[in-house]
Symmetry: D2
Subunit: 310 residues, 4 copies
């Protein structure tokens, strides 16, 4: 076999490889705060289960977490509700766009998986369990702070306000599911919570750190805190693999071969089971709404490190 | 960490665990030759990259390979056409039934992935590349014999004839794609080839042996023959993970956590990357058309061996 | 040819024929005020362009107009906007349920026709044209009063409130279209107006009288007031014929052969071009959401009077 | 009221009005025999129930009847099977393209109506009732000859052969329905019959004559032969109104206000119940596959004659 690659060297190489590609893709512009971001930013952070870290570029610069938050609220909701959650949301790839409502009609208000918007809204609603939005928002933020081992994670109120003001499709999805009684809190409460969770600002370094428990059977390898069970960890990773990138999940599995979850802010969290967590950020998106340069960097990194699960 | 589980002991345990469940599910009955199979049969075979084998029950009894053949024709077509193949078939989960034609209409005759029927028909058509059905059928059979390292693999002509006589949906799919010029050989030629490839008879032992190269970066670890590249191997496994079980692929990833491909004959081929190939057979199917007891056995086996990729 | 049938005698005969069927179908029960209605009620009123009237049963009892109001708001919106309206709503049968959102996704927020819920919401929004809900609601009510030549038409506030409280699907549709910028007023304003228009209480006698202009090229034959042009009248009737009963419009054309519009309150307005307007009411609905006995009565009446347009 | 318009003068006026528009639209080119037709041809023929005729342009030139044949096979099948036919085909607008297969999957092989391709294939299959294609083809041709009162109607074998050679979508539809057991004859037999019925050559004059019974309660007003019952006539007209132009049926009802059926050869048969039959032909098609100039001519003619049923 070939020698074990040097993580720091590989991260540096990948970072340099990406330079000519920076600025590619299309920065999300449906709200002003996202549109203002410099499309040439690029950050990469890796943290291993042994605690080794490697970073490149804007790895310390916070960006909008957006849909990556769905991984963490799924974990929280599973801890709170257990397998009951799966009565309200499926775990199959949808084969459709992130905000499609078609399947919801055909399947009576039960979303295909927790990572399309409809599914994530149900997960947030389940997580609320009757609590007030403020309490749940604080709970999510504090959980992220705990996982990332830092108090420097906050919610961008301007982004949350803009999401609410332009989120007609999410209002449509939420009301649709409410009509099927698959939303329990008032639509406005659930959506406000959802918009706030998506508006957290986080850096690559923080994000990789926060996701590390998913690479280590549910236990944070540095603090030894058990975040969730080994069994749930495997399953969350499985859902990330099959559903983490909407209707481009197959492509990500094909190209990168690792469980991952992308956000429209340009971030991608990727898990190397048993080994490491990776966070990459570059704001330009491809047609599927995933970071264009981010996906390239992950493919290169996974190949060089021999990290595909396949 | 826990001690390394003993493969033979685990296989025996899993086999015994399954006994109370035998006869569950529904044996495929759309053609007589499949309907005649005893629903209480159960076979399990594992072969590791080091050549260690473990078997249980009817592991030597041949069954109808059906859709599992799609993994091998995909490998052959990729070797023959390379990445050109992906212009004619996608690699995304479809979110639909194995024989759905809906997406084909919306996406102009390009099937979502090579494992739904429409996609597998395109792959077979690509593999034909102008050759006569007889030659291609022999090519597929001989490839399977080579991979399984035995001449005892044959095509059941009765099954092939029945498939053709009842395969209206496949004729519909094929003509539909032909109308979009995504079938190159005459519909009848491509379908005859397809029906024959699905009618191969193979045992668990042979199937696990034939798939072993997928657990070893494309190289048969016992003969050292390079069947395909490491890169393609990863990608075939990725497509198995996201698309190997039609609209229940997410469930299989969730429960078993390994790339796999099921067939309506009751067989499932599963790959443990870097470690082993598993074949299980039990004719009773669940609602998704996957072996009911087979899937249970794989979940138990994967858990006990710690073999989930997640 | 056969002698001209006597309208009063036919109406009496039809009324009696229906007696054994009263209580059939299923009374709408999604809001309390509708569920309370006695399912055995039956009213029938015909008014000809010459002013002849014939009535049977509960023809003077007010019921909830519901979707029949869409005919009148369509007329009003066409008068206000002219052909511009057709840029925001189509005029094709949808082939789908009254509240389906599927087509809306495929066709970028433009509803198929003005009689499915989505289309009617767009029509109401167009009719608002920046006005306050209160003003538009009064406008609609006053227009109905004018057409029916009576001040005894009012809006049932309890029903309007219930519609709003349970109308999640309509909120979903409205927000969906708002996301495609095909709603101009705030969602809440447009929906409040829509819920109020659907909550008018009207009797068969009033309804037939109000719709009479549609049987007479747009001119009220009794007052000689021109409500709309002859050209628009033909087109409103055409849309009633092809789209007036959601995914059972073909059936109504097949059985009755006249333009009509049904409401979930159990009423149906039917136009006999050049001859008469018919209103029937019976609360029990068939599977398509149309009055079960009402449709039977219309088929019998149309046959006996020789009134099919075909 | 205005004076009764003079038919001959109106037909002449309409014919002249169309001159600047000739050559518009797109001539069907999927088979050579259709593509060769001069796109500037225009024929118009009207025949009243009193036997008055009026013609313009190429009214005597035969063209390919294509889907207009579906009206006549529907009439024949209803005579042969009665209401049993409606168990195998619906009578609702589909809201979809003429050759869509999507609804067929959702509705288990029962086409929405007899005028989309799938529905017409079922009707032809029903009409066969076990007979050989040759006999049924002769039956259809002889029926058309009888209705048109001429022996000068023949089938263009070249067109029929081309239809079969390129008709992959129809093969797909037929096999799909065969898989749901909604086709009784062998697929090839039914389709050969269908392709031949669509390949009849007929002139406007012959077509209007052949359809005249539909304007006269099922009785040919000139020969007094009863072709079908008054009741069936109304229903055939109703289906023409709601489904005669695929996903543009609403538009035709809106613009012309008469039951009609178009064909991809550029012909349109239109019925004025109680008054007349109209046939128009102009090969250039609009986006919906209906004759561009033909639809314009019908709108003008219907308006000038005051012939809308609405």
């Amino acid at each position: 076999m070939s020698p074990i690659p040097n993580l720091a060297a590989v991260v540096a190489t990948v970072g340099k490889e990406m330079q000519p590609h920076l600025g590619g893709g299309h920065v999300a512009d449906y709200i002003p705060a996202l549109a203002r971001v410099d499309g040439r930013r690029f950050g990469l952070a890796v943290i291993t289960c042994e605690g080794e870290t490697a970073e490149f570029g804007d790895a310390w610069m916070p960006f909008s977490i957006q849909s990556i938050s769905k991984v963490f609220t799924l974990t929280m909701a599973l801890e709170r509700l257990g397998a009951e959650l799966w009565k309200r949301v499926g775990r199959e790839p949808s084969g459709s766009r992130f905000n499609s409502i078609v399947q919801l009609e055909n399947e009576k208000g039960v979303p295909r998986n927790p990572f399309i918007n409809a599914g994530a809204i149900v997960v947030t609603d389940a997580l609320m369990a009757g609590r007030e939005p403020g309490a749940v928002i604080a709970d999510i933020r504090d959980t992220m702070r705990g996982l990332a081992d830092t108090d420097a994670i906050d919610i961008d109120k301007e982004v949350a306000t803009s999401e609410a003001a332009t989120g007609f499709r999410n209002y449509s999805l939420a009301n649709f599911m409410r009509g099927f009684d698959n939303l329990k809190s008032p639509v406005e409460d659930t959506l406000q919570t959802y918009f706030h969770q998506c508006s957290m600002r986080i850096s690559c370094r923080q994000l990789a750190r926060a996701g590390l428990f998913l690479a280590n059977r549910g236990v944070d390898p540095l603090t030894k805190v058990q975040v969730t069970t080994a069994n749930r960890t495997r399953r969350i990773n499985a859902v990330m693999m099959t559903c983490g990138h909407y209707d481009a999940s197959g492509e990500f599995a094909f190209q990168v071969g690792l469980p991952g979850k992308s956000g429209v802010g340009g971030g991608i969290l990727t898990i190397v089971p048993g080994k490491a967590a990776i966070a990459v950020w570059s704001p330009g998106l491809n047609e599927a709404g995933t970071s264009h340069v981010g996906a390239m960097a992950l493919e290169s990194l996974a190949t060089k490190m021999g990290w595909s699960v396949f």
